[in-house]
């Protein structure tokens, strides 16, 4: 078990803050949380376009794209991200996780769009870590 764990490269996450919203407390908390859990986090900073986020994700060869969205544009941005990500990465799709102010009724729609996980306000550190760690397990 120990040996197996050691062989694995740490999970790499691109944490993006798309759109113009400047409330990045959540993003920064998640960055610190994941780093403390041994996950590598590349935080893009504010106001990144979807194109910039995809380019960074590919360049940094990340395992997950995580987006923090608080301004209510999560559906539009997720649709755009998944569509463009699909056309760039084809079959080898990078899983996308969304967190932020996400109304309950939108979670289903986000999953239909292809978002892998959604963390609305009130999600616990434990739950977040558990999900991210599950991707670490899946990593070859």
């Amino acid at each position: 078990m120990e040996n197996k764990e050691q062989k694995k490269a740490p999970l790499r996450v691109l944490l993006g803050k798309p759109g113009l919203d400047g409330h990045d407390k959540g993003a920064k908390i998640i960055a610190s949380l994941l780093r403390d859990a041994g996950i590598e986090v590349i935080y893009t900073g504010l106001r990144q376009s979807i194109e910039q986020i995809i380019a960074a994700a590919i360049q940094e060869d990340v395992d997950i794209i995580a987006l923090s969205i608080l301004s209510g544009v999560h559906l539009e941005l997720s649709r755009k991200l998944l569509y463009e990500l699909n056309s760039v990465t084809k079959a080898d799709l990078i899983p996308v996780i969304i967190g932020g102010v996400i109304p309950k009724q939108d979670i289903k729609s986000l999953k239909q769009i292809g978002v892998a996980e959604v963390f609305p306000v009130g999600s616990s550190f434990d739950d977040i870590i558990k999900i991210f760690k599950s991707y670490e397990q899946k990593k070859v």
Partner: protein
Amino acid sequence: MKEDLKKIKDLKKKWQEKIVDPRLKRYKLAQSPTTFYTPSDLEDFDFTEKVGFPGQYPFTAGNDPVPGWQAMAESQAIASNRFEWGGASSGGAGKYAGFGTPEDYRDYLLRMHKLGRKGGPNFAMDLPTQCGYDSDDDRAMGEVGRVGVAVDTLKDFEVIYEAYTGDIDIDKIASNFTANGAASIIIAMYAALAEKRGIPLEKLRGTPQNDILKEYVGRGTYIFPARPSLRLFRDLLVFSANRLPKMNITSIGGYHMREAGVSREQDLAFSMAIGTEYLKTGVEAGVDIDLFAPKFTFNAFGGSMEFYKEIAFQRAARRMWANILKNRFGAKNPRSMMIRQIMTAHIGCSSTTLQRPLNNLTRAVVGGMAGGMSGGIPFGAMPPWDEPLGLGHSLEAQQLGHDATRILMYEAKLGEVLDPWAGSFFMETLTNEIEKSALEELKKIDEMGGALAAIEKGYMQHAASQGAYKRQKMIENHEQFVVGVNCFAGPTEIDVRTERSVEAVYDLNLTATAEKRKKEGLAKLKAERDNILVEDSLNKLGAAAKNEQENLMPFLIDCVKTYATLQEMCDAMRKEFGTAEPTTI
């Protein structure tokens, strides 16, 4: 006196040993969860120097010996007209709101007028506007009219202000603009609108938020790097001091920084440091401190549920600001030395919970009580209980919030005593402690070269990220409790809900089509305006931006009048100033 203090000290020691320690043992506690203060905790306390009288330096006990809200309380209750303290019919601006296109926002304001809320507009602007982009820019996609109204050109102001004519024309109301990076452009639009209506600038009242430095720490709607942003602040300050005597210059907000994660003491120190930077900017531009400092207001400091500490915070803040103005800047006018703000202590929006959200009303009432005991109105309406449920407070939540204020005023009579904690061994000690920590932090920032330098170094931004993570960890680790979130959240607890009618303010059908409608309107305007005039004014703005000594306000007003767009003006300045780089961690 000294003898008495010694006696008390001895007695306290005995009490600790004989009474307290056995209890702690019984509860198996290493440290007492309680504190008891005596006169010996407050040795060498000079009441006149540290507290003084309400309305007098150092304003610890409050700005006003007879606050208007208390003076008018009885007549207001008898008349029972709709009266929202701190806004609307009290002569100020109405509730912070805004959405969709200028037409949507205008219609909303007209609806509010019909409900008796005739205060001036208190603009929430959408993110593209706040960040210096037009509705037709790619970066604005999905955000047009979303968290506020979309403003691209003077035309938009003309449409919005169709709601304000006659007995509520813009020389009779106050307008508030939550604009920071774009504040100078927004004020240029307001000035141009007044000119078009034949209203002298001298009559305009209102407040731009115009607190750009805190945007780099929390909230994040900056456009240019911090240094040139401070130049724009200077230009607006000088223009305002000379031409807009009734307009405030800035509304400084520690609130956003605390919400972003900085501690209570950092909130205080950073706010003082940022305020000092603005004051310095005005003085260095050659404006008399007593001419412009009275036009500084404070939006709010951050709040929390910690009742005692938030009261002490407000007392310490007033004393510190007064001290800075008097001793560091040599202000003579007492009005220069006051922290003018709409409310004092309150809870933070981040104190509210999505879980069992009606509890947020209880929380806001606690904040309102702290407000009433710290030199302000007992404002129980901040924020309405449904704050975490999404954009747009319901009318019911607003009603309950305003009723909370009224109950605290009329039934609990919180306004009867000024600074009720004055002289308390406990509260004076706590006030001193908070002031001392904040002064230490302020000294650190001074040594870095002031707020601008501290922001350029990323110091304040770092403090916010660290603090936010720390606070969240404390909740996760049960070092701090939030009812219904990390305790008392079991299956036997009952969720309580109530009706919410979110007024058509945030009509989803309107917001869904806002972007399309706004873009069409903008395209039409761009085709119809005199583009040679536009270009000429933008070139002049760009040239003026190159010369640091030049005041950009007249140039911005000239641009605005040609119907140049907000982004066109920002782009002209971006060429000189650059774009703010996002801080990463």
